[in-house]
C-alpha cells in the first residue's frame, strides 16, 4: 500500500512555505503567451514558457494544508465572487474517495490522477475541483495543469515541482465555473521527466462524475 512518509517537521516546513507563498501571491502563473509558437531555445522541461521557476519544495503532500484557489491573471472575474469556495485542508477529500481520471490510451506518464468536485458542477456555479497526482515513479520537472477551454472558467495555476517522489501525493485545487456551452469534461495535462526520458499524459475529468464516488457493480475493463 502507498503510504505517506512525511514527518511532522517536513509538514510544518511545508505549511510555512505555502503560507509564505500565498502571502507573496507567487502561486499565480504567468499568462500563457498567445503569440505564434516559434522554435524556442533548449528547454529543460516542456513547461509553459515564462512560468515562474518551480519551487524546490512545493509539494502539497497528502496532509499538508492546501493553497486556496487563485484566479488566473487573465481570467474574467467570477460572476459571483463571493461564491468562490475557499478550500482548506479540512475539506480535502481522501485519496480513496476520489475518482480516477482516465489517461490517454497510449504511453503516458507514470502518474495516477484522481479528482473530486466538492459539489455538482452546474453551469454558472463555481465549484472546487480537487486534483491529486500520485506518481508511480520518482521524477523531475513535474507539472500538472488544467487545459483552458472555451466555456470553462478556471482559477488557480498549474502545479510545478522540480522533483517528485514515488511515495507522495501531490494535490492542487482549482475553482471551476462551467458555462452553458462547456465541454463535458476537463483535460488535465501532466508532464514529467524520468530517468530515460520525458513523458506526458492528458487525463479526462468528466463534470458528471466525481462528486460523491460510490462503489458500484462495475463494467470490468480487461
Amino acid at each position: 500500500m502507498r503510504t505517506n512518509n512525511l514527518d511532522a517537521a517536513f509538514r510544518t516546513a511545508t505549511f510555512a512555505f505555502l503560507l509564505a507563498t500565498l502571502l507573496a501571491g507567487c502561486a499565480k502563473p504567468a499568462p500563457v503567451p498567445e503569440s505564434a509558437p516559434t522554435e524556442s531555445p533548449p528547454q529543460i522541461a516542456p513547461a509553459t514558457p515564462d512560468a515562474p521557476p518551480p519551487a524546490e519544495t512545493l509539494p502539497a503532500p497528502e496532509d499538508a494544508p492546501a493553497s486556496p484557489a487563485q484566479p488566473a491573471p487573465d481570467a474574467p472575474a467570477p460572476t459571483e465572487p463571493s461564491a468562490v469556495p475557499k478550500p482548506t485542508a479540512a475539506n480535502e477529500p481522501s485519496l480513496e474517495s476520489m475518482s480516477v481520471a482516465t489517461p490517454s490510451a497510449k504511453m503516458s506518464v507514470a502518474v495516477d490522477v484522481r479528482y473530486s468536485f466538492d459539489s455538482a458542477a452546474l453551469p454558472g456555479q463555481p465549484v472546487t475541483l480537487h486534483l491529486a497526482a500520485v506518481p508511480r515513479v520518482s521524477g523531475s520537472n513535474f507539472n500538472v495543469s488544467v487545459k483552458e477551454v472555451a466555456g470553462v472558467r478556471l482559477a488557480a495555476g498549474p502545479l510545478n515541482l522540480q522533483k517528485t517522489d514515488g511515495s507522495n501525493v501531490y494535490r492542487r485545487q482549482f475553482s471551476v465555473t462551467r458555462g452553458t456551452d462547456s465541454p463535458p469534461q476537463l483535460r488535465v495535462l501532466v508532464t514529467m521527466d524520468y530517468a530515460s526520458g520525458s513523458g506526458f499524459g492528458f487525463f479526462s475529468v468528466p463534470f458528471g462524475s466525481g462528486t460523491n464516488p460510490q462503489k458500484e457493480v462495475s463494467v470490468k475493463q480487461r
Binding site: 482516465t102 520518482s138 492528458f202 480487461r222
Partner: protein
C-alpha cells in the same frame, strides 16, 4: 418477423436439401415454404455493349423478374476481363462504371444474381462489355505525389514545427484520373517507392487527379491499409488536386498535398496531408516486415484518424484498426512516426506472433505485468527499427506551445536501482528493458553489454515461431528463450545483454523459472516466482498480490499459476482472496498452451470456481483480486479496496 425468418430458414434448408440430393440441379427450381411453393426469380443482365474508354457504362438488370413475387436485391460481379473495374451502386438494378483506358479492345464480363422477396436466388445471368480505345489513342500521364510532413523542431523538447513542413513522397497510395468535373475515374494507378505514378488515359481528355489515402496491393505480398475518419464515415480520405488539365498537355503532373495547418499550428482548412503521413509510416513498417519475409500477406487494416477521441491504440477485435488522436490543440499523432509505428507493431505482434498484453495505462519507469512490459517494449523497439531511429518522440501542445515527450531505446536502463536515482532500472517487468534489449539485438552499434548485431530477421523469426507458440505468456522470458534457441552461436552475447537488465539469461526458460531478480517497488513475494507451479489434486497454491506499483497491469497486481494436464479430464479451479472487505472480488482467467480457455470473473464475488472438460496441455491461470488487478470503472470509481492480499488457488 419471427414467422418470416422461419420461412427463410425453411426455404434455405429446402434448397440445400434439394441440391444435396440432386433433385433439381439448380437453384432455379421451385422450393416450398410452409406448404407454399416459391419459384426462384430470373436474372436478366441486359444486352452486351460496346463502348469507348472514358464513357460511363450502365449495366441494366431491370428486365429481371420473379414469377411469384418481387426482386429484393441485385448482386453484380465482374467475372472476367481486365482491368477490374469498380461498380457504383453495385447492388442496384443499374450499376455504373467508367470504361477504363485500354490500349486494345478489352472485354469485361459481369454476372448478375437476383434474390426474391423470400430469399431465393436466381441462376446467374451474364453480360459482356467491350471497351475500345479512344479514337485519339492513349497517353501516359505521369508525375509524383508528395505530402507535407511537419517535422519536429531541432531541440530535444521541441514539438512539431508547423512553420516548416517538408514535402515527402507519398508511397504506395492510389492515384486516379477523374474525368474533369466528375468523380468518374478513368484510370487508376499506385505510386511507387518514390511517389511516382503513371496513368494511361485517352488523348485530349480533360482530367483531374485524385489521391486516396489507401495503400492496396494484391497478389504476393499483399496488404490493404486505409485511413478514414471512422466516425463521420468509412471511406478513406481523398485529396483532389485543384483544377484540371488536358491529358496530352505538359509533362510531369505533380501533386503536392498540403498540411492545411498554419505556422502557428492552427487548422486553416482540410488537414489534407495527415492521412498520407500516417500511411507513409505504415508503408515503412510494411517494408521492414518484407525485408524479413518478402511474401508476407498483411490482413486488412483501418486507421481511424479524425473524429475519434478514444485515444491512440490498436484493436484486433472486429475489423482490425488503429486509432490515432487528431486534436491539434492537445495531441495529434499523424506526424508522430514512432507512435504510429508502435501501434503498427501491436498489429504485427497480434497477427504474426501472439500478444498476451492486457493493455492499460503505463508510463516511463513503470514496473509492469511482464506481458505488458513485453508488448509495449516490443512496440517501441519495432518503431525504432522501422524508423531506424532510436529516439522516440511524441508531440503535444502545452498551452499554445508545441512540445514533445521522448526517450531513447538505445539507452540501457541501469542495472542498479540506486544508480538509477529515478525508478527506471533494468527489470523483466520494464518496457524500457525490453525495448533496449530488442534494439541492441537489432542494431549494429556496439555499446556496453551489447555486442550483438543480428538485424530484424532473427527477431521476426522468434516472434513468428517460439513467441507465437509458447505455452507460457508472451514475456521477455519466452522471447529470450526463443532467441537463444535460434541463435546458439550468440548465446554468450545474448546472456551478457540480457543480464545487464537484471534478468537471469544463463538459465532462462519460457517461464522465467530461474529468475531471482525483482523490483524494489514491490515485495519480492508479490513478483516471484513468476509462475507458481500447481499440481492437480495437490496442495493449494498461495500467491501474494499488491498495488504498490499501481493497478491493473502493474507488477504484483496479477499472479500466474500453472499446471500440466496429461489426459483429458474434468478440472475444477478455485480462487479466493484474503481480502475481507465487503466489496472483495477475486477473478481469474485460464489459458491452455497460451490460448484463452475460460474465465471466472463474476462481479463482486469473493470466491470463484470453474469446472470444465480439459484437454491435455500446459495450463496458465491469471489470478487477481480486482481491487488491484482491474482497471477503474468508466465513471472513475475503482472496484474494491486495493491492498496487500494473499490469493489461494486450487486445481482438482
Amino acid at each position: 418477423m419471427r414467422k418470416y425468418t422461419l420461412g427463410l430458414t425453411l426455404a434455405s434448408i429446402s434448397a440445400v436439401l434439394l441440391t444435396a440430393c440432386g433433385g433439381g440441379g439448380s437453384s432455379s427450381s421451385s422450393s416450398s415454404s410452409g406448404g407454399n411453393t416459391n419459384t426462384a426469380p430470373i436474372a436478366n443482365a441486359g444486352s452486351n455493349q460496346t463502348v469507348t474508354s472514358g464513357v460511363t457504362v450502365t449495366l441494366n438488370g431491370t428486365a429481371s423478374s420473379d414469377p411469384d413475387g418481387t426482386i429484393a436485391s441485385y448482386a453484380w460481379t465482374q467475372t472476367a476481363g481486365t482491368p477490374t473495374v469498380t461498380l457504383a451502386s453495385g447492388t442496384t438494378s443499374q450499376p455504373t462504371f467508367p470504361a477504363p483506358t485500354v490500349a486494345t479492345a478489352a472485354t469485361l464480363s459481369f454476372s448478375l444474381v437476383v434474390t426474391d422477396n423470400v430469399g431465393a436466388n436466381s441462376p446467374a445471368a451474364s453480360v459482356n462489355v467491350t471497351v475500345n480505345p479512344a479514337a485519339g489513342g492513349n497517353v501516359d500521364v505521369t508525375g509524383q505525389v508528395t505530402f507535407a510532413r511537419v517535422p519536429f523542431g531541432p531541440n530535444q523538447n521541441s514539438g512539431l514545427n508547423y512553420a516548416s513542413p517538408v514535402q515527402q513522397p507519398s508511397r504506395g497510395v492510389m492515384v486516379e484520373a477523374l474525368a474533369a468535373g466528375t468523380t468518374t475515374a478513368l484510370a487508376t494507378a499506385t505510386t511507387d517507392n518514390l511517389g511516382n505514378y503513371t496513368l494511361t488515359v485517352s488523348n485530349n481528355t480533360s482530367i483531374t487527379l485524385r489521391v486516396t489515402a489507401r495503400m492496396r496491393r494484391t497478389g504476393s505480398p499483399q496488404w490493404d491499409v486505409r485511413v478514414q475518419d471512422g466516425v463521420a464515415g468509412n471511406s478513406p480520405y481523398t485529396y483532389t488536386e485543384p483544377g484540371s488539365f488536358n491529358s496530352s498537355a505538359g509533362s510531369a503532373h505533380n501533386v503536392s498535398i498540403p498540411t492545411g495547418i498554419s505556422a502557428a499550428g492552427v487548422a486553416t482548412g482540410t488537414r489534407a496531408s495527415g492521412p498520407f503521413a500516417v500511411l507513409d509510416t505504415i508503408y515503412q513498417g510494411i517494408q521492414t516486415i518484407l525485408g524479413a519475409v518478402p511474401t508476407t500477406s498483411f490482413p486488412a487494416l483501418i486507421v481511424d484518424w479524425g473524429s475519434q477521441t478514444d485515444g491512440t491504440f490498436f484493436s484486433g477485435s472486429g475489423t482490425q484498426h488503429i486509432g490515432l488522436l487528431a486534436e491539434l490543440t492537445e495531441d495529434t499523432d499523424e506526424f508522430d512516426q514512432h507512435v504510429i509505428a508502435h501501434e503498427f507493431g501491436h498489429y504485427i505482434e497480434f497477427n504474426f506472433s501472439r500478444a498476451d498484453n492486457i493493455g492499460g495505462a503505463h508510463g516511463g519507469g513503470d514496473k509492469l505485468d511482464p506481458r505488458v512490459a513485453f508488448g509495449e517494449g516490443f512496440g517501441y523497439a519495432f518503431a525504432a527499427i522501422v524508423m531506424n531511429d532510436p529516439v522516440a518522440r511524441d508531440s503535444y501542445m502545452n498551452g499554445t506551445t508545441p512540445v514533445s515527450g521522448r526517450f531513447n531505446v538505445e539507452v540501457n536502463p541501469p542495472t542498479s536501482p540506486a544508480a538509477a536515482q529515478n525508478n527506471d532500472y533494468g527489470c523483466w517487468c520494464s518496457e524500457s528493458s525490453v525495448w533496449s534489449i530488442l534494439w541492441d539485438v537489432y542494431d549494429n552499434v556496439a555499446d556496453a553489454n551489447d555486442n550483438l548485431a543480428l538485424g530484424f530477421t532473427p527477431i521476426w523469426n522468434v516472434l513468428t515461431v517460439q513467441q507465437r507458440d509458447t505455452p507460457a505468456f508472451t514475456t521477455v522470458f519466452s522471447f529470450i528463450a526463443g532467441l537463444k534457441a535460434q541463435n546458439s552461436g550468440s548465446t554468450n552475447a545474448i546472456n551478457t545483454l540480457v543480464a545487464a537488465q537484471n534478468i537471469d539469461a544463463t538459465n532462462i526458460d519460457i517461464y522465467g523459472t530461474s529468475e531471482t531478480h525483482s523490483a524494489t517497488e514491490v515485495p519480492a513475494n508479490a513478483a516471484l516466482p513468476i509462475y507458481s507451479l500447481a499440481t492437480i489434486g495437490g496442495p493449494a497454491i498461495v500467491v501474494h498480490t499488491v498495488d504498490d506499483a499501481g493497478h491493473h497491469n502493474k507488477l504484483g497486481n496479477r499472479r500466474f499459476v500453472r499446471f500440466t494436464l496429461n489426459t483429458t479430464r474434468s478440472i475444477t479451479i478455485t480462487a479466493s482472496s484474503s481480502n475481507t472487505n465487503a466489496d472483495e472480488d477475486t477473478d481469474f482467467r485460464v489459458y491452455r498452451n497460451g490460448l484463452f480457455v475460460r474465465s471466472a470473473t463474476s462481479p463482486a464475488a469473493p470466491n470463484e470456481t470453474t469446472t470444465f472438460s480439459a484437454q491435455p496441455g500446459e495450463y496458465l491461470i491469471d489470478v487477481y483480486d480486482c481491487a488491484n488487478g482491474c482497471d477503474p470503472n468508466p465513471d472513475g470509481t475503482r472496484e474494491g479496496t486495493p491492498g496487500d492480499y494473499d490469493l489461494t488457488v486450487t486445481v482438482n
